[in-house]
């Protein structure tokens, strides 16, 4: 690793640690469960609220995935590996994608129950962005890099413009790899969702009434989706690799 990379990586670690410390200082207070967990006059359980809010996260998930893919293309196609902006950005992507999704799940539960930020929509959106952008960007970058340079050169050699090369060659050739990465990310997000719902379920339910069926009722479909997305991702990977 050359010196500049080491420097940027160290700066990234330092900044993330500072951000984490600030976050802990700001949110470290006696936890008081949110009193506004209600729709109008009707009180609802946090789990119902979470489910409603998670439903609204679906469009945000799609927008974030698309933005991550665009972001990865900008990094790979327009910023050279020696570009200073790229060198500054990349360590954050790598570090954030390495954080286990369980952490994000617990963070989401914490935020929803204790309503740390003014709106739990905001906190869930932020957590979703932190969860999706690094992993999708990283997998898309790898997919783009896997496209043979000779194909790019051949397309440029016959006078193709950058856009033509990206849309006609790089994108179609890396599409399956990108899709596989997106499937992995979605299954990761769904795992986090299942964790959130399960933990809230355990928190709010009477243990005497807790049964396996109860759990399956709440997170069964999500776990099934996780399984389906993981299998799709693996199958795509197998066929393209």
């Amino acid at each position: 690793m050359d010196k500049s990379k080491l420097l940027y990586n160290s700066i990234a670690v330092l900044i993330l640690l500072i951000v984490l410390s600030i976050y802990l200082i700001l949110t470290f207070k006696t936890p008081v469960a949110d009193s506004s967990l209600s729709f109008g006059s009707m009180k609802v359980e946090p789990i119902t609220l979470l489910k409603v809010r998670l439903f609204w996260m679906i469009p945000i998930l799609f927008i974030t995935v698309i933005l991550s893919i665009v972001f990865a293309f900008i990094i790979e196609e327009w910023l050279s590996p020696t570009n200073i902006i790229r060198q500054i950005i990349e360590p954050y992507i790598v570090i954030l994608s390495g954080i286990p999704s369980m952490i994000y799940g617990l963070l989401a539960v914490y935020h929803v129950v204790f309503n740390l930020i003014s709106s739990s929509y905001t906190s869930l959106t932020l957590i979703l962005i932190l969860l999706v952008i690094p992993t999708t960007t990283l997998s898309t970058q790898t997919a783009i890099r896997n496209v043979d340079t000779s194909i790019r050169n051949a397309a440029y050699a016959v006078g193709g413009t950058k856009w033509q090369v990206i849309f006609d060659h790089v994108l179609p050739l890396s599409a399956l790899d990108i899709l596989s990465g997106v499937c992995y990310t979605i299954s990761r997000v769904l795992t986090v969702t299942a964790v959130c719902i399960l933990v809230l379920n355990l928190l709010t339910s009477d243990f005497s009434t807790l049964t396996v069926i109860n759990i399956v009722n709440n997170v069964g479909i999500i776990l099934l989706l996780v399984l389906i997305f993981s299998i799709i991702a693996s199958l795509i990977k197998k066929n393209t690799g």
Binding site: S80, P81, T82, D148, T149, S150, I151, R152, N153, A154, A155, Y156, A157, V158, G159, G160, T161, Q164, D168, H169, P172, L173
Partner: protein, 251 residues
Amino acid sequence: MENKIEISDLKVNYGDKPALNGISFNIVQNEILGIIGPAQSGKTTLLKVINRTLEFTHGVTIQGSVKLDGVDISTIGDVYGLRKRIGMVLPLPVGLPLSIYDNVAFAPRTSGIRIKAELDEIVERCLKQAALWDEVKDRLNSLGTRLSGGQQQRLTIARALSHQPEILCLDEFSIAVDPITTMRIEEVLKTLKNEMTILLVTNLVQQAKRLADRTAFMLNGDLIEIDDTEVMFSDNPKQQSTFDYINGDFG
């Protein structure tokens, strides 16, 4: 004959590693210039400088000037237009992930040709020139990457001819092609000479002898000698190393 390309004091470095050490020579219009030399002598780098695809390599520095029809190529704003004037055939065949038809029609389409009849004509002409038409005329819509190595290489030649370039750069085109087909392509090149200037980089010195009007010998980034092919392949070229290389004493 007027000069098509004028190269003066061209230096190329990959980081700290020099690839071309200040070479100067001219390429005359409508000639076939054979460029021979062992690996790492800078032959491919030279071609990449001419069509400006070397700019994609990170950490590369280019000094000196390359003039095409008297205009320095580094000052040309429309780099895509410049590349259309120069056809490039790479050592290993790179079939774009498109059908055979679309592979050849790619460049004309980028220049705005949309009429099917016109495209059909270009595809047929180029595939015929590259000695591939008879083998693929019934399956133009199958994937170009499914063809055999030799056929793919001829497809890349057809693709390079599709935008009617002024200069055709062939970088060891015959590596993946059988001898019979190589001879057929060589015949095509001899006729193409009337329409364009051809730069033939080759490891096969006999190929340069058969085809080239003039031959240049490069070694470790230096231009050792450039002269008429008969002189280069005679018993007394100017440099001893040229004689040694051509006669197989090294390389």
